[in-house]
């Protein structure tokens, strides 16, 4: 029953919120549903921690890896809902573009992402992954401007095609499983596949073919270069809370899906094949996105390219494997979520007050908007991986794994890109912070919803850099054991 709870709450909640035409009531209803949702997710995570694994029927299951990702979903969705409650105060009434539609779609989006993490069946996982695209496409096009519609269309088409490849990969894996003598009913169940993996080695070609299609398919959702074309547009044109959700939760969920396949394929044909592919995509994404960060002119596009870069880092961690590589990769998914949410919230405030996101149109905000600037500086320092922030630890872990395994080329590229990104972020941030204030912001002081959400994110980035809480650490190591 417990596993059904976090799935029922968002669906029923979405319907409940649609009943309220008044934006203020809709906001309150959304906060209520959000609180229930976070509690339900917390209960699931706690039960997984106690029992090791939860199963509900044939199609739902949660183990430590799912619980770890549920934790970042719960954390980010919580602060995003708090932030949205203030952010949407200027939004008017339109077809699918009113606050109540916004919240209803956000909860449907959350429903699909939570289902991805709770699916016991790779087919269901695919269905829900496609569902994330469908639920969020209208949110990307929420503002109904030319740019938003273009970004929404591109997002819908590119991701649907990408995901179609993942379906093909799933079918090929299913074929390999059935040929290896598994029953059709369990041929898509990831735990049966993991257990039966050595037996599928009879058909290594099929399993490898499946993984190629899956990494291209889910890689499109993760934003691996060269399938990333939708990502900067969608992140830049979506309302800010949605950019944060896309970057901090959706990309992680797609990464989770890829991890499930990676485990199965590694156990079948040995880790070399899938890990090499992950390393190639990871390094490529990191290098290309790192260089593109330098030439960005729009604050949110800058953050979007940074997300691609960080997904590359996570893929490198997974591709290296080993205790430190996996630790770094998993930890980085969480740390990146916290830091990127903070940055997007800051960008949202800038947009509200300055009316633009063009970097050359934003000047001297350290004087006119000191609090927002402080958030951007903390987020910026964290995202480039400086100590004492948490991203330093995860990046350092991945880097030391690369040296330990003598992957010197990967390590060198990793370090070069990190320094390039540091330069790029410092350059762009200084340009916005310093200079003569062009235009007086409308209300520079933060409202409660803003400083609560940004405060939680900033504290989290800082605290996890100093020490990792015991409970979190235990869950992290259990999740690593699943990936081994």
């Amino acid at each position: 029953m417990l596993l059904l709870l976090p799935l029922m709450i968002p669906v029923l909640g979405a319907g409940f919120i649609l009943l309220f035409r008044n934006p203020r009531f809709a906001t309150r209803a959304a906060l209520l549903v959000g609180a229930l949702e976070v509690l339900a997710l917390g209960a699931v995570i706690w039960q997984v921690h106690l029992q090791g694994e939860l199963q509900e029927g044939r199609y739902l299951r949660a183990d430590a890896l799912s619980a770890f990702f549920l934790m970042s979903i719960a954390f980010v969705s919580g602060i995003v809902l708090i932030y949205s409650s203030g952010y949407l105060r200027h939004t008017g009434e339109g077809r699918f573009s009113s606050p109540r539609w916004f919240y209803a779609l956000v909860f449907m989006f959350l429903f699909t992402m939570i289902s991805v993490c709770l699916s016991a069946n790779l087919g269901l996982l695919w269905i829900m992954m496609e569902g994330t695209t469908l639920a969020s496409a209208l949110l990307v096009g929420f503002y109904n401007t030319e740019g938003a519609i273009e970004a929404g269309w591109k997002y819908l088409i590119v991701c649907t095609v990408g995901i179609a490849f993942a379906l093909f990969g799933t079918i090929v894996l299913y074929l390999a499983a059935v040929k290896a003598g598994m029953s059709p009913a369990s041929g898509l169940d990831w735990i049966s596949l993991m257990n039966a993996a050595p037996g599928m080695a009879l058909d290594p070609h099929l399993v490898k073919l499946a993984f190629v299609f899956v990494i291209v398919g889910y890689g499109t959702k993760i934003g691996f270069v060269p399938m990333h074309s939708w990502l900067p547009d969608a992140h830049a044109e979506a309302p800010t809370p949605i950019s944060a959700l896309l970057s901090a939760v959706l990309l992680n969920c797609a990464m989770y899906a890829l991890m499930r396949y990676d485990v199965i394929v590694s156990r079948t044909v040995g880790p070399a094949f899938s890990h090499t592919l992950l390393l190639i995509f990871g390094v490529l994404s990191m290098v290309v996105a790192g260089l593109l960060i330098l030439v960005q002119r729009n604050l949110k596009r800058l953050l979007a390219y940074s997300s691609i870069e960080h997904m590359g880092i996570i893929a490198i961690g997974l591709g290296l494997g080993g205790p430190l590589g996996l630790l770094g990769a998993l930890l980085h998914t969480f740390n990146h979520s916290a830091a990127k949410s903070l940055l997007f919230f800051g960008a949202g405030n800038v947009r509200h007050n300055m009316g633009t996101l063009r970097i050359d149109g934003i000047q001297g905000i350290s004087r006119t908007m000191p609090q927002t600037s402080a958030a951007l500086v903390v987020g910026g320092l964290a995202i480039v991986g400086l100590p004492p922030f948490s991203l330093f630890i995860s990046e350092f872990a991945i880097l030391s794994e690369a040296f330990a395994q003598a992957h010197y080329l990967v390590a060198a590229l990793f370090l070069i890109v990190l320094s390039v990104v540091f330069g790029g972020f410092a350059y762009h941030l200084f340009r916005m912070l310093c200079g003569k204030p062009g235009r007086r912001p409308e209300n520079a002081r933060l409202i409660p919803s803003e400083y609560i959400s940004m405060g939680i994110a900033a504290l989290c980035v800082l605290y996890f850099g100093v020490r990792i809480p015991h409970f979190f650490n235990v869950l992290l190591h259990e999740a690593m054991a699943v990936l081994r």
Binding site: L124, I127, L134, G141, I157, I171, V178, K179
Partner: protein, 220 residues
């Protein structure tokens, strides 16, 4: 073996020829309505293959899937396309960026490639080679239609052709996925089409055209 048995064998062994025919015709079609009709025809052929497989392998769930495909892909989606093109008052031309002869050439190369792919992986599956090659050719042609046709409607149609190919490949190699998953995939496709419809209305409202190649404000 009764008459039905013979028909089943014939459908499974030789209907892939008709599938190749539909994709070659799709390559030369200049009007949106022709393309939609060809898609409908293609789905009808696939329905026949599903029913034949169901009969041969004695799978009751295949009949249900067959009926679903018939209702959704042969009847409902083409109808929706006709209604949509009428409401959007779009011109009938598909706005191809390649000439028909170039398109046919590309599709021919893709058919060759699919046979090559089936040849190298052929030993792994017990499906008939021609049908599997047809499935892969459908996927490739769908992708080609998406990149070479500028109309938003045609991009969606390309996506559907691709999806037909994936479905056929699944059917031939594994006799279909478990029914629940199959129905979930259908539901996703329907929702996706609905959303694409909404976006097409928004594009035509905001930009006053449906030419996707002119959507190029976001770059870099």
């Amino acid at each position: 073996m009764g008459l039905v048995g013979i028909a089943t064998e014939k459908i499974l062994s030789s209907f892939s020829v008709f599938l190749f025919l539909t994709i070659i015709l799709l390559a030369v079609a200049r009007r949106i309505s022709t393309s939609v009709l060809l898609f409908s025809l293609q789905s009808a052929i696939i329905t026949a293959e599903v029913l034949a497989t169901g009969f041969q392998e004695k799978l009751a769930s295949a009949y249900l899937v067959g009926i679903l495909i018939f209702v959704i892909k042969v009847v409902a989606i083409p109808r929706a396309f006709f209604v949509l093109t009428k409401r959007l008052k779009t011109v009938h031309d598909v706005k191809a960026s390649t000439t028909p002869s170039q398109s046919v050439f590309v599709v021919a190369v893709m058919i060759y490639l699919s046979y090559a792919a089936v040849h190298s992986y052929g030993g792994a599956v017990r499906a008939p080679g021609d049908s599997l090659a047809a499935a892969i050719a459908l996927i490739l042609t769908g992708a080609f239609l998406m990149v070479s046709r500028k109309k938003a409607v045609m991009q969606v149609l390309g996506l559907l052709v691709m999806e037909n190919g994936i479905f056929l490949a699944a059917l031939l190699t594994t006799f279909g996925m478990p029914l629940v998953i199959e129905i979930g995939i259908f539901f996703d496709i329907l929702m996706g089409l609905l959303l694409m419809g909404i976006f097409m209305f928004r594009i035509s409202d905001t930009f006053e055209h449906l030419d996707v190649s002119k959507l190029r404000r976001l770059r870099g």
